[in-house]
């Protein structure tokens, strides 16, 4: 039998690569076995468009933005893409709940050179990766249906990355505060109204001014503005605000998560 004891040091130290990537790698190994879930990311928006958006468009006609009139599906499609990037990232991030509260995976990781910050970064990046896979599938459908009207559309996938990052960070932070299923219901109480009110189905101008401000504070509003601008080609400097808002949300979320994971697991 060969000796398993330490004679020469195997461990390269200090590490050269960001350790968060190692968690992405671990998750990808697990995920290999359940890639079928990705199909849902493809079919869900297709059903949405076929059975809801197009019939509704026939009913209400187009949407007027500024001096331009858009086909209803071209108005809603990009918003649904933004919402899908959000949901993919946010709900994937909240899957961390099980690992954090019941699993021992993080206990094992934290006894290696991996630190709580690496866990926060790694799980955020992983949620972004999965969300991007959904977004890419969805984007394909929008392209095929001719709902992307501008060359700015080339930036849609990077924009989905920004949305995914913002909501993944927020999701990872949120999950560290959750204790049970009731808390998940509370999250639903925030996420569903946000989906309905963040100009997904009608333009901001339908609201009274006070509510307009409220809507503009919603993170999903910024995601939708970003994708819609790129899809229609009506791009302005405001899109930089959208990116900054979402990026900051992701970074702050990861920072909070890192602190909280430290406090929860390293007692």
């Amino acid at each position: 039998m060969s000796e398993v004891a330490a004679h020469t040091r195997l461990t390269p130290w200090p590490r050269s690569r960001p350790a968060g990537l190692l968690i992405v790698e671990r998750n990808a190994m697990v995920y290999r076995r359940s890639w079928m879930i990705l199909l849902s990311g493809f079919f869900e928006p297709l059903f949405y468009l076929t059975f809801f958006v197009y019939p509704l468009g026939d009913f209400i006609g187009g949407v007027t933005l500024g001096d331009e009139t858009l086909e209803y599906a071209a108005f809603v499609g990009p918003a649904l893409l933004a919402a899908s990037a959000m949901n993919g990232a946010f709900y994937d991030a909240t899957n961390v709940f099980w690992k954090l509260r019941y699993g021992k995976v993080y206990d094992a990781m934290l006894s290696t050179p991996i630190s709580p910050g690496d866990v926060a970064v790694g799980e955020t990046m992983w949620a972004v990766v999965r969300s991007l896979l959904y977004s890419a599938a969805f984007l394909n459908i929008l392209l095929v249906l001719g709902l992307i009207e501008s060359w700015w559309g080339l930036l849609i996938l990077p924009a989905c990355f920004v949305i995914g990052f913002g909501f993944a960070g927020a999701g990872i932070a949120a999950v560290t505060w959750m204790r049970n299923w009731q808390d998940f219901d509370l999250v639903q109480l925030v996420m569903l109204p946000m989906f309905l009110f963040a100009t997904t189905f009608f333009p901001l101008s339908v609201y009274p001014e006070a509510i307009e401000w409220l809507v503009q504070a919603l993170p999903l509003y910024h995601g939708i503005e970003l994708i819609r601008a790129l899809a229609t080609g009506d791009v302005s400097a405001f899109q930089l605000v959208n990116v900054a808002y979402l990026g900051l949300m992701g970074i702050v979320g990861m920072k909070i998560a890192s602190r909280r994971i430290d406090g929860l697991l390293l007692k």
Partner: protein
């Protein structure tokens, strides 16, 4: 960066761990030297796990000095963890991965290359005799197999010190012996072992040196043999009585001059003496007739009983 020869790998002085009001580890001192097998022997709640977690840099030190590889856990936790192997009290295997993947992925956390790890995983699985289960999921493995896999995993980074928190608790006797055998081989290969246990036979088998821990404090230190010599006699006579009527209230009149110490327990009476046969013969002559008499060698259990007045396993 590495410790000089002669300098302890782990050094603790006045080490304290508090959880709110509760003092789990109460100002303990110890040193771990390279190449030795050192044990913490103590009952549940003694503070063994709390101590191990502080050493493993997954629990902040409340007070006192702790140096691991002459580094500070609060500052250099990442580097210390890179050089330790950890077998925690509760298995923390990745249930979503296979047996072999568990070792590879764990090795990746140390930044080791996949190509190195593939070979290393096969060697380690061979070492713990799990090669046949390499492609299986972890969940259906027996407790003993999970423990062996956890040990294999902890060796993936060729650690300078292996921390084992109750390595065989909850295993059946046969599985325990398999684990002991592997740990014994590691010891022979020169791996430094730091283990906790509440089994006195485990401590006797594996430890060159140990501390007895109770209620957060270290109450004695030495090799198993030294501890037995210092705190117990060579032999013990165990008396059992059929009922309380046959059991004398006061033993002194029966045992005076025959034994050096009497320890009455609820279910039996222990008589400490260097010559058990002579003592039981003497009792017989004085007319004391218990249901059974057993003469045995002293163990660490007797040491613990003497030091704390309680037995190790309640």
């Amino acid at each position: 960066m590495t410790t000089q020869d002669g300098q302890p790998l782990i050094h603790a002085r006045g080490l304290v761990k508090r959880f709110g009001e509760l003092v789990a580890v109460d100002a303990i001192d110890f040193d771990l030297q390279r190449g030795e097998a050192f044990g913490f022997l103590g009952p549940n709640g003694a503070g063994k796990t709390s101590t191990m977690r502080m050493i493993g840099c997954v629990s902040p030190v409340s007070e006192g000095t702790l140096r691991v590889f002459d580094l500070d856990p609060a500052e250099d936790g990442v580097e210390i963890r890179a050089r330790l192997g950890v077998v925690p009290q509760e298995d923390s295997l990745d249930l979503e991965l296979t047996v072999r993947e568990n070792i590879i992925v764990y090795g990746r956390y140390f930044g080791l290359a996949r190509s190195v790890l593939k070979q290393r995983a096969d060697e380690l699985l061979d070492f713990v005799e799990l090669t046949e289960r390499a492609k299986d999921r972890v969940e259906p493995l027996s407790g003993g197999m999970k423990r062996r896999l956890t040990i294999a995993r902890s060796l993936v980074n060729e650690p300078e010190v292996l921390l084992l928190d109750e390595p065989t608790t909850g295993l059946d006797p046969q599985a325990r012996h398999v684990v002991w055998d592997r740990l014994y081989r590691l010891k022979r290969q020169g791996v430094t072992l730091l283990l906790t246990t509440h089994y006195m036979d485990e401590a006797e088998q594996l430890c060159d040196r140990l501390v007895v821990m109770d209620k957060g404090k270290i109450v004695a230190e030495g090799s198993p043999r030294e501890l037995i010599e210092r705190y117990s006699t060579r032999e013990v006579v165990e008396l059992r009585f059929a009922d309380d009527d046959g059991r004398p209230e006061d033993f002194s009149e029966w045992t005076d001059g025959l034994v050096s110490r009497v320890e009455p327990l609820p279910d039996r009476v222990l008589l400490y003496t260097d010559d058990g046969d002579a003592a039981s013969h003497g009792l017989h002559e004085r007319g004391l007739v218990p249901e059974s008499i057993l003469v045995r060698r002293s163990t660490l259990e007797d040491v613990f009983l003497h030091l704390t007045g309680r037995s190790l396993i309640e």
